[in-house]
């Protein structure tokens, strides 16, 4: 038990610091914690910006969600995109990391360059890829000049092809990030492990499987989790690239929330989908993290 005077002295000395810290926490409360609860509350109402006041409709929005085929399409697409992009971006990242794991200047330059897709804004990424992927775009120009295709491929115009194209672009954006994460992990593997491995007669493949893959497991946890979260809330790249089209085939759940809120003016319904996305993100992130963590422990 500290004497009372201790707290008084402490308070007077730390007042300025406490004020700044409290301000930070207050802003977090006002712009994250309170909004989440406001969103939760709205999700039980028919709130609409065009009319004042709102009615409590209980689980009305949630039961509507069950029958909303556009929502279902968007959730399926979002989950497939998240899974596919996470797998591809992590494989590409690991491969790039293995390839670029050298100290020579040329490799360091290549590393710097490989991260560039992460630096450019999603809007620019979207526009640039759009010029590449449209029917009279640069990719078709190149393919036709190489006589690989005769009629231009409509990369963004056919539902399934557009979904695939969006996946490629998003995986492209994320791969620079995963590369850097895996590179960091590779650089922390002690050389002694490989030395010991080769003394024990382990070949390159065996060393890769038994040492490299196991030692990058913690990095995999982080890289996979962040990739999943990033795709689940992705908005800008898809919005610019396809605006969710054709026929809503590439509409992510995050985009659908924005569309419901600002195009259809259905704040209440948008909030209930937002709550769903929040729960989905939390469940996926937490379960994937714990599964991958357990894998780390096993090793």
């Amino acid at each position: 038990m500290k004497p009372l005077s201790h707290w008084f002295r402490d308070t007077s000395q730390d007042l300025g610091l406490r004020l700044i810290a409290a301000l930070g926490l207050l802003l977090y409360l006002v712009f994250i914690v309170v909004p989440v609860f406001m969103s939760l509350r709205s999700s039980f109402t028919d709130e609409n910006p065009l009319k004042s006041g709102s009615n409590w409709i209980g689980f009305g929005n949630y039961s509507e969600m069950l029958h909303d085929s556009q929502l279902r399409t968007s959730v399926v697409f979002t989950l497939l995109l998240a899974a596919g992009v996470t797998v591809v971006a992590n494989l590409v990242g690991l491969a790039f990391a293995l390839l670029l794991d050298r100290t020579a200047l040329s490799y360091r330059v290549l590393r710097t360059v490989a991260f560039l897709p992460q630096v450019v804004s999603g809007v620019i990424v979207g526009f640039v890829w759009k010029t590449i992927l449209t029917q009279d775009g640069l990719l078709n120009t190149v393919l036709r000049s190489l006589h690989l295709v005769h009629t231009p491929v409509d990369w963004l115009g056919k539902p399934h092809l557009a979904q695939f194209s969006v996946g490629v672009v998003v995986a492209w954006v994320l791969s620079g990030f995963t590369t850097v994460v895996y590179l960091a992990a590779l650089q922390n593997i002690p050389q002694e492990l490989y030395d010991a491995g080769s003394i024990d007669g382990a070949g390159a493949a065996q060393q890769f499987r038994m040492i490299t893959l196991r030692m990058v497991a913690p990095a995999t946890t982080i890289s996979v989790t962040i990739s999943l979260i990033t795709v689940l809330k992705l908005y800008d790249v898809i919005q610019v690239l396809t605006s969710g089209g054709p026929a809503n085939a590439t509409q992510s759940t995050a985009q659908y929330i924005v569309k419901m809120a600002f195009t259809n003016d259905r704040f209440g319904y948008a909030s209930s989908i937002a709550m769903f996305l929040l729960a989905l993100s939390a469940v996926i992130a937490l379960s994937v993290t714990s599964i991958l963590r357990r894998r780390e422990v096993d090793l």
Partner: protein, 310 residues
């Protein structure tokens, strides 16, 4: 698009350990480096160069085509500019709506104000919380961690309503204020807390015995010690806030002056544009973050990797 970087879970006042030299091994030594003896020298480098170039080819296209005439782009999009022209860039800069000038200026204002406020907020908060007892600290940090996972679409509508209530909707102060509170704050706190754990208690206690108050200790002792954390936070937050699209789009609204991302989206998306113009605009809009990244890439990579490995 933003990637929430891993929080720096490990204190890292020191720089990441340097790689042991590859060339230190005698030629032909029996011990292969990391079991990879098949891909040697030039072949490996050539493969790396080709793959990385293919990977960044969309960026390459933007750069070379920004300096080519429309006809040359259509004739050979991948060829380097044989007859380089600044026409695309000057057309982009002379647009009657001053898209680039205004957008870059507005983005700069938002980024500088947000980051300059987030750094003291995040760092003072981290210093304060890292001196608290374990359990309350863990609870507060867990609540903050949630902020990194919450999709921004979830909090967007209420944020706009709160800003409307404060009379700050559709304004730059409103946008900056909402930046201060959200996931950016969480990120700053996680990086700073990781670094501050490495600061020995004795340093703080000694200063306290000398009569220094909390604010003074934080500013004159802690802040210089955690300079690498400040660099990490400043670089990442600048990039994310610069590239942010959702918040500027809906908090500023279409009637206000645009940041560069929303300005591009609204102006460029509205009409069909020739490739030369488009690449010129993209080049100029992207050049600031890219140059910033290239200038700071050492700190950038160090910050990104600080938290991603154990």
């Amino acid at each position: 698009m933003t990637v929430q970087s891993p929080s720096a879970r490990r204190p890292a006042l020191r720089r990441p350990p340097a790689r042991r030299p590859v060339h230190g091994r005698p030629a032909g030594a029996a011990v292969p480096r990391r079991g990879r003896r098949r891909l040697f020298g030039p072949a490996r480098l050539a493969l790396a160069v080709v793959l990385v170039l293919v990977f960044v080819s969309p960026i390459y296209l933007t750069v070379v085509n920004a300096f080519k005439k429309e006809d040359d782009i259509v004739a050979g999009p991948a060829t380097p500019p044989v007859h380089p022209t600044l026409h695309n860039l000057s057309t982009a800069l002379n647009r009657p709506d001053h898209l680039l000038q205004l957008g870059l200026r507005n983005s700069l204002i938002v980024v500088v104000c947000s980051v300059l406020l987030l750094i003291p907020l995040g760092s003072a908060f981290s210093f304060w919380i890292s001196r608290r007892r374990t359990r309350p600290r863990a609870v507060v940090l867990a609540v903050l961690a949630a902020g990194l996972m919450i999709p921004p679409q979830v909090v967007l509508l209420p944020t706009i309503r709160i800003l409307t209530f404060l009379g700050l909707d559709h304004s730059y102060p409103g946008l900056i204020l909402s930046n201060l509170g959200g996931g950016y704050f969480s990120f700053a706190v996680f990086v700073y807390v990781g670094f501050m754990r490495a600061v020995p208690d004795e340093v703080v206690e000694a200063a306290r015995l000398d009569g220094a108050g909390g604010l003074r200790i934080w500013w004159t002792i802690i802040m210089p010690l955690v300079r690498p954390a400040t660099a990490t936070v400043a670089i990442f937050l600048s990039l994310w806030i610069w590239n942010d699209f959702l918040n500027p789009q809906f908090i500023l609204g279409p009637l206000q002056g645009q940041t560069i991302t929303t300005g591009l989206y609204l102006s460029v998306g509205q009409f069909q544009m020739d490739y030369g113009q488009l690449f010129g605009i993209m080049f100029l809009a992207g050049v600031i973050p890219v140059v910033g990244y290239l200038a700071m890439q050492k700190q950038f990579i160090a910050g990104l990797t600080a938290g991603s490995t154990k």
